[in-house]
């Protein structure tokens, strides 16, 4: 099984389409500035792509629907449904009748075409700034296998999202997580991976032993996780293409858990428990050598590297309750950064390095929140009976996490929320799910 297929060629410039290749990129008036204020979603239209031959017709509508779902799913855009469209796009190369789109107040318009032949489909698209009556950025083409049509749709939506918001893309990404089944006192867990929007679920393990908290490598080619397959919790490394698994840092009489990669993918930082005490260790994957980073009688766990690899944020109860600390990647003195009421755990450094996401427990409720790396500007994004385990979208705009409901019938599900606190959504999965971890943007 291949988890990540490269779209080849990823991007090809479209020439000779009548408006030339010099169309302005990201400088037009069409722009959403994302800040903390309430915003009115930007109206856009995505008419069905034009099928360039009979074999392409099955993709034409599907691709436009995925593009629309991606954009509308951010909460920043609002789709104008096809039933309200005046113009019909029947040729990708024909001039766009901007007046018809202005009339229905579509500020952004995505036009496209798809051709299919054998084992290859080609998607072309243009993003238009309707009120400027011109394309926004150059038109692009993606080519790949028919099975990657969803990825091509995500690539189109990523381009539109990035050009309009100025933020990095994130739709063409995957999420590894724990798929759950069975009653609360005998839960079955297995690893699964899906597209960021819940499509294309693939199961990576069976559920014969408990698995916890998978994490992607920086390239997405490997997955770290914790499994009880030996009878004791231990960390394992899975190759995402072959699904081959090998144990890491196996020391008899110890328990290992909470693994996470360094940004260069060569080191795994994790918790090792011995004699009831959990400390942080760093393992060099190639040599198999481990190094102890903390040495305290308190609980040290949930480590996460800064994107430059120089620091590690983690949780510790050395002060008496769970709090967040930052130390050098080599260990040593740690600075406490969490200062509010309650307990803080599961810190995760944002891909851009600007925020720490965390789980907070306070007065019987759980929250997902973010704070600056110095502990300032703490902001709680969610509140429920049990929210935990944030993971960042590749562009650092969205956080996915586990929400579990209370009681005998309590179930875990995956949710996402914008770091502004807006746009809380449940991700549709085939059953209960927990412990999401977002991949990097796919190539």
């Amino acid at each position: 099984m291949t988890l990540f297929r490269t779209l080849t060629p990823v991007v090809a410039l479209m020439l000779g389409l009548g408006f030339g290749p010099q169309a302005q990129a990201q400088t037009g008036p069409l722009r959403i500035i994302i800040d903390q204020g309430v915003i009115e979603p930007l109206p856009f239209a995505v008419p069905d792509l034009v099928p360039e031959n009979g074999a392409a017709s099955e993709y034409a509508a599907n691709i436009s629907r995925v593009i629309a779902a991606d954009l509308a799913g951010t909460g920043l855009f609002r789709e104008i449904p096809a039933s309200a469209h005046i113009a019909r796009v029947t040729s990708f190369d024909a001039p766009v009748g901007y007046e018809d789109w202005k009339a229905i107040n579509a500020q952004a318009l995505i036009t496209g075409a798809v051709g299919a032949s054998g084992d290859r489909i080609v998607v072309k698209f243009c993003l238009h700034d309707v009120f400027a009556s011109q394309p926004l950025g150059e038109c692009l083409q993606f080519a790949g296998t028919p099975g990657s049509w969803r990825r091509m749709a995500h690539k189109v939506a990523d381009a539109a999202y990035s050009r309009i918001t100025g933020e990095g893309p994130y739709f063409d990404s995957r999420v590894v997580y724990v798929a759950e089944s069975g009653p609360k006192n005998a839960r079955l867990k297995r690893l699964a991976v899906m597209d960021y929007d819940g499509a294309n679920i693939q199961y990576l393990t069976d559920s014969s032993s408990i698995v916890l908290a998978p994490r992607f490598s920086p390239t997405g080619n490997q997955i770290l996780f914790t499994s009880y397959v030996s009878g004791f919790p231990r960390i394992y490394l899975m190759d995402a293409a072959s699904l081959a698994v090998r144990g890491l840092a196996e020391q008899p009489g110890t328990m290992t858990f909470a693994p996470r990669f360094s940004p260069d993918g060569r080191t795994v930082v994790f918790s090792l428990e011995r004699g009831g005490n959990s400390d942080l260790y760093a393992l060099d994957i190639d040599s198999g050598q481990s190094r102890q980073l903390t040495n305290a009688p308190s609980i040290e766990t949930a480590p996460s590297f800064s994107p430059d690899g120089s620091q590690i944020v983690f949780e510790s109860d050395r002060s008496g309750t769970q709090q967040l600390y930052i130390m050098s990647a080599g260990g040593g003195e740690a600075q406490r950064i969490s200062n509010g009421q309650g307990r803080y755990g599961t810190p995760v450094w944002s891909p851009q390095g600007d925020y720490i996401a965390f789980t907070k427990q306070n007065e019987g409720r759980f929250h997902i929140g973010v704070m600056r790396t110095n502990g300032g500007e703490e902001r709680l994004l969610t509140a429920s009976f049990l929210d935990e385990g944030p993971t960042w979208s590749p562009n650092g705009r969205v956080i996915m996490f586990t929400r579990e409901t209370a009681g005998e019938g309590g179930q875990a599900g995956l949710y996402s929320v914008d770091i502004s606190g807006r746009n809380l959504r449940q991700i549709t999965t085939e059953g209960p799910a927990s412990d999401p971890a977002w991949s990097p943007l796919l190539p």
Partner: protein, 177 residues
């Protein structure tokens, strides 16, 4: 789909061999609620619980001596009641030297996953340390934490939480764990 090589699965089976307690989870014991004779697959041995009126039986250990101790919220210190139970366990183990034990530490659901794994390990270790102080050989004992992964009670109130914050002593045949 075969994920783990057979050798690993064998190790898993050995690690769990001859468990007596229904409160077991792991490779092979898929539903975790098998109880006596409930484990058929995966090369896991079956062991009779025996007659609860027989002081040498596992059933007697589980029911009369008591196989578990409970903990306060976010704590791993042993209460006087817990110490009494563990003194009983150490006496039973002294008169039944053929058994080894695995001590399972558990937490209630009010906590993050990783922290609860560490907390469960603290609880299991507190029991192990006490049993060692009572003369039980360390070579007969192992600990494992399940964090909040295996509650025995499923409600989300303190009535259930107090029973889930536990360390369970699970007997197995063979003095070397």
């Amino acid at each position: 789909m075969t994920l783990f090589p057979k050798a690993l699965l064998l190790v898993a089976a050995l690690g769990l061999a001859a468990c007596n307690n229904p409160d077991r989870y792991g490779a092979g014991g898929a539903d975790g609620a098998g109880g006596a004779g409930g484990f058929g697959a995966g090369g896991i041995d079956t062991m009779g619980l025996g007659d609860p009126s027989d002081p040498r039986s596992i059933a007697y250990f589980n029911q009369t001596v008591g196989d578990r101790v409970l903990f306060a919220v976010d704590q791993s210190s042993l209460s006087p009641e817990a110490r009494n139970v563990l003194m009983g366990q150490s006496q039973w183990l002294a008169t039944n030297p053929d058994y080894a034990i695995i001590i399972e530490g558990h937490a209630d659901e009010q906590g993050t996953r990783e922290y609860n794994l560490s907390l469960g390990a603290r609880r299991a270790s507190a029991v192990q340390d006490f049993l060692i102080s009572q003369g039980v050989s360390p070579s007969r004992m192992r600990t494992v934490s399940y964090g909040k992964e295996r509650p025995i009670e499923v409600c989300s109130t303190e009535d259930c939480y107090m029973k889930n914050r536990r360390a369970v002593t699970v007997l197995s045949m063979g003095a070397g764990v």
